[in-house]
């Protein structure tokens, strides 16, 4: 009986994996859910199901599966990393950081830097970025993150040097271009900032942060209408509407400014729900 169950499980996990490998995540999910139902303590089934759920855009369900997988096999590095990444997507930065700090390889360094940064522990993020730059001198991503940390700390010249290095190592890395643009924005070199941000936007179409920075650079160089056009094509986001409202006001169109502001405020209000004791 036990052997038969194991064979079924193995078959379900194997078919689930095959579907996963072919990019048929919905089918993979069905098989893997049955595998989990058959054997809740199967690390492979939980891990693969979690990964499929990530691909299907269901991070909350993915976290449930990946957390179980991590508990079943705490030493499995990929499960730990994937769970940490999902915690970050869910803005649970402290939990992500706890999984990957202290880091061991380049990927965990990247996760640890970003999670510490977003959890508000800038000092640790900076320390990790510096450590990582020493350990992985050929990593463009690490160089970009150190550049980002330096930019965040107001050390603009050092940031630019690191970002240039990141671009040499990995010419297609959007973070390096975006951060370079942000450094130049802070230095009020708007024309040059716009060029870098334009390149970042080409590499990361639809990235709200990049589009907001680019719209600011364009506005400061007299391109208010271009900035509006850019943001009107951007994903719907409270800050995009806010920025649009500001731009319409700059053009003297207070009615549209008011409409965009109202949209922005409305989108934020879901976060302000009153707690019930």
């Amino acid at each position: 009986m036990k052997m038969a169950l194991l064979l079924v499980l193995q078959s379900l996990v194997e078919s689930g994996y095959q579907y996963f490998a072919r990019g048929e995540f919905g089918e993979a999910r069905k098989h893997l859910e049955r595998a989990v139902a058959a054997q809740p303590k199967s690390f492979e089934a939980r891990f693969l199901l979690g990964a499929a759920l990530v691909e299907l855009g269901d991070p909350a369900a993915a976290i449930v599966q990946l957390r179980q997988a991590h508990l079943l096999n705490p030493e499995h590095a990929d499960a730990r990393k994937l769970l940490a990444a999902q915690y970050m997507a869910a803005r649970r930065y402290g939990q992500a950081a706890a999984l990957v700090d202290p880091p061991s390889d380049e990927e965990t360094y990247l996760l640890a830097i970003e999670s510490r940064h977003r959890a508000g522990d800038g000092a640790r993020a900076f320390e990790l970025a510096q450590q990582a730059a020493g350990k992985f001198p050929k990593s463009g991503q690490i160089a970009a993150w150190l550049g980002f940390q330096l930019q965040f700390a107001g050390r603009y010249e050092e940031a630019k040097a690191r970002l240039r290095r990141a671009m040499e190592l990995e010419p297609e890395l959007p973070l390096a271009y975006q951060t370079m643009g942000d450094v130049l924005l802070k230095e009020e070199n708007f024309a040059e900032a716009a060029q870098w941000l334009q390149r970042a936007a080409e590499k990361m179409p639809g990235d709200v942060e990049t589009l907001l920075s680019l719209s600011r650079a364009l506005t400061e160089t007299g391109g208010v209408q271009r900035a509006i056009d850019l943001l009107r094509a951007a994903p719907r986001d409270a800050r995009v509407h806010l920025r649009l409202s500001r731009l319409y006001f700059l053009l003297g169109d207070e009615a549209r400014a008011r409409d965009e502001a109202a949209r922005s405020i409305e989108m934020r209000e879901k976060d302000l729900l009153v707690s019930r004791p």
Binding site: F152, A153, G154, R258
Partner: protein
């Protein structure tokens, strides 16, 4: 795996999982020093001057947010003898606390202060918050409005050293208890008398407030703290029209001020922000967008903070705003606004652009050095009389369990080029001293021609920071009225200030507009635009004195 790792590049940080928002920003590097010597030194003379009673405000083990908010202070000349007196709003503790009352200290010609609270009829225990000072009834004497978590109080100055609680008679008693926060007198309808705006922070019902650490809005950096403001119910703001006969009418609904905004309102200032001749309102909001009520000139207001650049930080994120100050810091003739925020964030320095709103210049100006501090009162004041308003910020954390509760005060010296230099550690022991401070006010209590500071410290006596300014620069003070916009031209420069009944955090600055003149010994032109829009002009006035501007005199 790498694809998964890169899903979340550069997302904005939003701390919805705690009661206060912040951005987790680092301290920015100090710019190269100017090499100039800051000539003012501040010494705490509170004890020797007679300001010895502690201001009670909550217990050490804060269970509710009300215990962390502190109180305001006022420099105002209540007996009209030419020497600015001191009023301190008192808080209390749950279960009561000895000595918890508001206090009025009469200024004995700058040498000492005498506690005249009881004699003045101002003894009152409760959760006092802010104070606004103005002559609401036009009898030439400064009256007081004090906000409470409870019932706000209007004290009429009787002119004989006593005050009378006229709240009910004036129609300001309201219905039920509220948490009144900032407040400001303003002549919003330009009819010549002062109306009253009252902000309400939130609805605090102890029976319905979760225990510290018990919910997602009751944590800070993962540790249990008291709940709020996020997660606690919103309150709406109030506007009262002065009927001109000692009474007020609640026009909150008709004016649009009472419309729900879903913000947690704290510091308030009333000034003509869009330069159309009508007094507007700006309200710093805690953990939510800040509000700019534009006066439409027809008895109504329109909230336009978001698209004028005054509601959020420059990245479009909510901030935990506390106090506000206004001045023309860059000498371009337009009023600019400073706003303080909670820890892990920078203060704002909103530079006025005229009709197109405001832009935040805090980081460019050099104000990003101390994000670790919770900042409260903001005061623009020209402490060295060089003609450029400097910036004082009071500081003090609210969570003793996660951060240093006591901090030094911050003093930024205006270099006259759009930038400020941090002189906090070279402006005397009074600035460098560590307290957990809240409200603060600037005023020339000793009439020596430079601006001193009064600072509320949580459960300690206040600090009275005497300014010993060695610059040798000249000065000019103008006594006018609340709501007046005062402009002086001297030494080739034009400076503008507005006279406010409340600013900073819950506090009142000396209402004599103080101008540093540098080396100029004559004010070429003094222009006063009164709250009702009328304007008077004087010429060729000698420096180093207090000038009383009377409406219609010129």
């Amino acid at each position: 795996m790498r694809k998964a790792l890169l899903l979340v590049l550069v997302l904005p940080r939003l701390d919805f999982g705690q009661g206060m928002v912040s951005r987790g920003v680092p301290a920015l590097p100090k710019p190269k020093a100017s090499g100039r010597q800051f000539p003012a030194t501040f010494t705490d003379v509170a004890a020797v001057s007679g300001l010895r009673a502690a201001v009670v405000s909550g217990s050490a083990h804060r269970k509710y947010i009300i215990e962390a908010m502190g109180t305001g202070v006022a420099f105002a000349d209540f007996d009209d003898d030419g020497w600015t007196d001191v009023f301190l709003v008192g808080g209390t503790r749950f279960g009561g606390a000895a000595g918890s009352t508001n206090r009025l200290y009469r200024n004995e010609r700058g040498a000492r202060f005498v506690d005249v609270t009881a004699k003045a009829g101002l003894t009152r225990e409760g959760w006092g918050q802010s104070v606004a000072a103005a002559d609401y009834d036009g009898d030439g004497l400064v009256d007081l409005f004090v906000t409470y978590w409870g019932r706000n109080v209007l004290y009429r100055n009787n002119g004989n050293g006593t005050f009378t609680d006229v709240t009910a008679k004036a129609g300001l008693a309201g219905e039920g208890d509220r948490w009144g926060s900032g407040a400001s007198f303003l002549d919003y309808d330009r009819d010549g008398d002062l109306d009253l705006f009252v902000a309400n922070y939130l609805v605090l019902d102890l029976k319905r407030t979760p225990a510290p650490g018990s919910g997602e809005h009751c944590k800070w950096l993962g540790l249990p703290v008291f709940c709020g403001p996020r997660g606690l119910p919103f309150a709406s703001n109030l506007l009262y029209r002065n009927n001109g006969d000692g009474t007020f009418t609640d026009v909150s609904a008709a004016s649009g001020i009472g419309a729900p905004q879903k913000t947690y309102a704290l510091g308030v200032l009333a000034a003509d922000l869009d330069e159309d001749g009508w007094t507007d309102l700006y309200i710093a909001s805690d953990s939510t967008r800040s509000l700019y009520y534009r006066n439409n000139g027809d008895g109504t207001f329109a909230e336009r903070g978001a698209y004028t650049g005054l509601a959020y930080d420059d990245n479009g994120m909510e901030q935990a705003g506390m106090g506000v100050a206004i001045a023309d810091y860059d000498g371009d003739g337009r009023l600019d606004i400073a706003k303080t925020n909670f820890a892990d964030d920078y203060p704002n320095l909103y530079r006025g652009l005229g009709k197109t709103g405001y832009t935040d210049r805090a980081l460019y100006a050099g104000l990003g050095l101390y994000p670790q501090f919770v900042l409260w009162s903001a005061i623009f004041a020209d402490f060295d009389n060089d003609g450029w308003p400097d910036l004082f910020l009071s500081a003090g954390h609210i969570f003793e369990q996660v951060a240093r509760y006591r901090n030094p005060r911050l003093l930024y010296w205006n270099l006259g080029n759009g930038k400020f230099e941090d002189v906090s550690q070279r402006a005397g022991a009074g600035i460098a001293a560590e307290h957990s401070s809240r409200g603060a006010a600037a005023g020339d209590f000793d009439n020596d021609g430079d601006l001193d500071l009064l600072v509320m410290n949580m459960n300690e006596p206040p600090s009275l920071l005497r300014n010993d300014n060695r610059s040798g620069h000249h000065w000019f003070q103008v006594k006018s009225g609340v709501g007046a916009r005062v402009t002086v031209e001297a030494g080739g420069r034009r400076q503008t200030q507005v006279v406010l009944s409340q600013s900073g955090y819950y506090s009142v600055n000396d209402q004599r507009a103080h101008f540093g003149l540098g080396t100029a010994v004559v004010v070429d032109v003094l222009e006063v635009t009164w709250a009702d829009g009328r304007r008077d002009t004087w010429r060729d006035l000698k420096a180093d004195r207090v000038f009383t501007a009377l409406k219609g005199q010129r």
